[in-house]
């Protein structure tokens, strides 16, 4: 493996690892549950993304064939992360009932009963 590729792969691994670490540190530092929900979105996007690119590059360099599994892992993460975030936010909203702004439309937020006239 040539030096340039090794440096590139190491840099990607370090970037991925640091974003994972910052995401976890965010869980510790932030105060409110909704703020903490923001921190893990970092680990899944850039953190896991950079690690996967590094893995795919390593395989490409060693075996000469592209690995599509890594791309698929990234695609599945990008599909599922917003859904789990939405479900956690919904659970938080039903448990601790924060003050929400009005919807601006005639209907209430989903899951709320409309105010009786």
């Amino acid at each position: 493996m040539s030096l340039a590729v090794e440096i590139l792969i190491s840099a990607l691994l370090i970037i991925g690892g640091s974003f994972g670490l910052i995401g976890s540190f965010g869980l510790l530092k932030l105060r409110e549950p909704m703020q903490r929900l923001h921190a893990p979105t970092k680990a899944t996007t850039v953190g896991v993304g950079a690690s996967l690119i590094a893995a795919a590059l390593t395989l490409l360099w060693q075996t000469g064939s592209a690995s599509w599994q890594g791309v698929m892992v990234a695609a599945f993460l990008f599909l599922t992360a917003p859904l789990s975030g939405l479900m956690l936010a919904k659970a938080h909203r039903h448990l601790s009932r924060p003050d929400l702004p009005p919807t601006g439309t005639k209907a209430p937020w989903a899951g709320e009963t409309p105010p009786k006239p």
Binding site: M34, H38, L86, K90, G104, A107, W109
Partner: protein, 162 residues
């Protein structure tokens, strides 16, 4: 044909996904891909009655590229907030974003984009699908955040979907 394959795009995506996961185009992978591409759309079509109309598939690709670029920029921004901003100075806010998109698929795409770009998170939909509730990690100016989402993502999605 449309009875056997109610969602041709979904069938094609499933087929491609299976072949990429299997990593080969041997006969057994092709058979399994064909089974999945037939059975999954049939089993889920009761929950997905309408077909999305994508007007410009090429613009969808450039939209994905734009979102990937924004994900990286916004990650750095949020990492800075987490590392260097004192916890009591972070101004989190709930923001209502009115949406004007023609189909549920486009709204789901917008909601997913908002969650993936860190710093904002889709938390709820209004019961009539005309507004999204967003939680922003640090938004000193909620109106600017709302305007950016509408101009940067929603107008592009409006052009892609009909």
């Amino acid at each position: 044909m449309s009875r056997l394959f109610p969602h041709p795009m979904l069938s094609a995506t499933l087929c491609l996904a299976w072949l990429l996961l299997a990593g080969s185009i041997a006969l057994n992978s092709l058979l399994m891909a064909a089974c999945l591409a037939t059975l999954i759309p049939l089993a889920t079509q009761a929950y997905w009655p309408s077909r999305p109309k994508i007007r410009h598939p090429l613009r969808l690709i450039s939209y994905i590229a734009l979102v990937l670029y924004d994900v990286i920029l916004a990650n750095i921004q949020v990492a800075r907030i987490i590392l260097f901003m004192p916890a009591d100075q972070i101004k989190s806010a709930w923001i209502t974003v009115p949406v004007d998109l023609p189909c549920p698929e486009a709204i789901a795409l917008l909601a997913g984009t908002i969650t993936l770009t860190p710093g904002t998170l889709t938390a709820e939909f209004s019961a009539d699908n005309k507004a999204l509730l967003i939680h922003a990690l640090h938004a000193p100016d909620p109106d600017a955040t709302r305007a950016e989402i509408k101009s940067r993502y929603e107008t592009r999605l409006q052009r892609i979907f009909r």
